[in-house]
Amino acid sequence: MRIVLDRPRCEGHGLCEEAAPQLMHLDDDGELVLDREEVEGADAALANAAARVCPVAALRVI
């Protein structure tokens, strides 16, 4: 599975990082960086949790 970020929608709320710090983080400018895009197993579950908490629906797992 793959994490897809809709960059223009992302406002840097950072709730995804709290849900899945192993997979993504906000950089010093508050921009989201996906550290891993291809995910499987337990990581896919974390990715789904991160997508779920995004308040502006900017993350998807496909």
Partner: protein, 390 residues
């Protein structure tokens, strides 16, 4: 096709807006969609349905967020009341200076302000929490942020309250508040960069307009939304923090023991008592929800608090439990129209929760006074009779 459940509940009756939870439970059991005959509104009552509708802007248009045509007309051209693709551009202009990214330098200042204010109130020992904290703190933060001075600063509270009241149906509260909301509208239509403090976010919006990053004439609209959407709701949320911690000293004790629970506590305050009761949408087509059809053109009301107390989604939903950390609560909305000011709201609320949990062991409060409102559900007065300091 199933028959649409109907109800004779008046969503905007005084007793309903003051304590909507028994009514929400009743409507939620009738179905995910119920037609209210008195209001001619289709209400969405269950968590999954509400979250789905908030994400589905193609079926649920924001051109009817208010429950009367005059307010919807007045909001035309704002990001709040528009749909993609226009919305995408307006939202970007609105959030350029308001996103967590833009605000990340403010955290320390906001925390210091909250701590100083709470310290002063603890020292006093008794105070009226709504005026002294729930109103004073966000009004100061927002005024400094946008750069308001003089008479605007003095009018922020009544303008902000009126802007939410006029989103209701054509009732007495809406009628009484239109002239006050009109003052805000007037002021925002003629405000200029030089009316705002140099270096403020408000000035930044005018700079963005001057360099063509946002369309000509939109800076006033954006400032209107900061005030209209951000003041009354944040005040409600901070008042609710104080009231719920006073009622549930065991929950305050959990945050005292583990300060990293502050964000979780704020999520639970918002889930338990959302600042906004009902928010509008219009169905752009016949929408089928579990076999019940919302007809094209119907006015829809999203009952945020009904979804937040849906036992299908949250276990023991009528209990206030900070450790549940309901990050997916509905009180900020969700998706393209998710609250644009939520980053600022979190900064303010986390700062207040942090200060209270450091400085207060528990609060002894008198009865809370509430006044019925069309949109915002907030406490009007909350006497803190005694502070037992930490």
């Amino acid at each position: 096709m199933a028959t649409t459940p109907t109800s004779d509940i008046d969503l905007f009756a005084d007793e309903v807006v003051l304590d909507p939870y028994p009514v929400y439970a009743e409507l939620r059991e009738q179905g995910p969609v119920v037609h209210l005959r008195m209001n001619d509104v289709h209400v969405l009552t269950r968590y999954d349905t509400i979250r789905g509708a908030l994400a589905d802007w193609e079926s649920f248009s924001s051109t009817s967020i208010a429950f009367n045509p005059m307010a919807n007309e007045a909001l035309t051209g704002t990001s709040l009341a528009s749909d993609p693709p226009e919305h995408t551009r307006l939202r970007a202009a609105l959030t350029e200076n308001l996103s967590p990214r833009a605000l990340r330098g403010l955290k320390g200042r906001i925390e210091a302000k909250a701590d100083a204010l709470v310290a002063e109130l603890v020292e006093k020992g008794s105070f009226e929490a709504i005026d002294a904290l729930a109103r004073a703190f966000p009004l100061e933060v927002v005024a400094d942020l946008i750069g308001f001075t003089g008479h605007v600063r003095d009018n922020m509270l009544r303008w902000g309250q009126a802007a939410m009241q006029v989103l209701g149906p054509t009732n007495q509260r809406t009628a009484e508040n239109f002239p006050v909301a009109g003052e805000l509208y007037e002021w925002c239509s003629q405000v200029e960069a030089t009316d705002l403090t140099e270096g403020s976010v408000g000035r930044g919006i005018f700079d963005a307009e001057a360099r063509g990053a946002i369309p000509p004439g939109t800076a006033g609209h954006i400032i209107h939304q900061y005030l209209g959407a951000g003041v009354d709701t944040t005040i409600a949320a901070i008042g609710n923090i104080v009231a719920l911690f006073a009622r549930h000293p065991d929950q305050l004790a959990l945050v005292r023991a583990n300060p990293s629970l502050a964000p979780a506590a704020f999520n639970e305050v918002l889930r338990f008592w959302p600042p906004i009761n009902a928010w509008g949408r219009r169905a752009t087509r016949d929408v089928d929800i579990d076999g019940v059809v919302i007809p094209e053109g119907a006015q829809v009301a999203i009952l945020l608090g009904a979804g937040n107390r849906d036992p299908r989604h949250y276990e023991n939903p009528d209990a206030f439990l900070v450790e549940r950390n309901p990050v997916d609560h509905l009180s900020f909305g969700y998706g393209p129209h998710g609250c644009a000011g939520q980053g600022l709201a979190r900064l303010e609320a986390h700062a207040v929760i942090g200060a209270l949990s450091r400085r207060v062991d528990h609060l002894v409060v008198g009865p809370e006074v509430r006044v019925p409102g069309n949109t915002t559900r907030s406490i009007e007065e909350l006497p803190v009779l005694e502070v037992i300091p930490a």
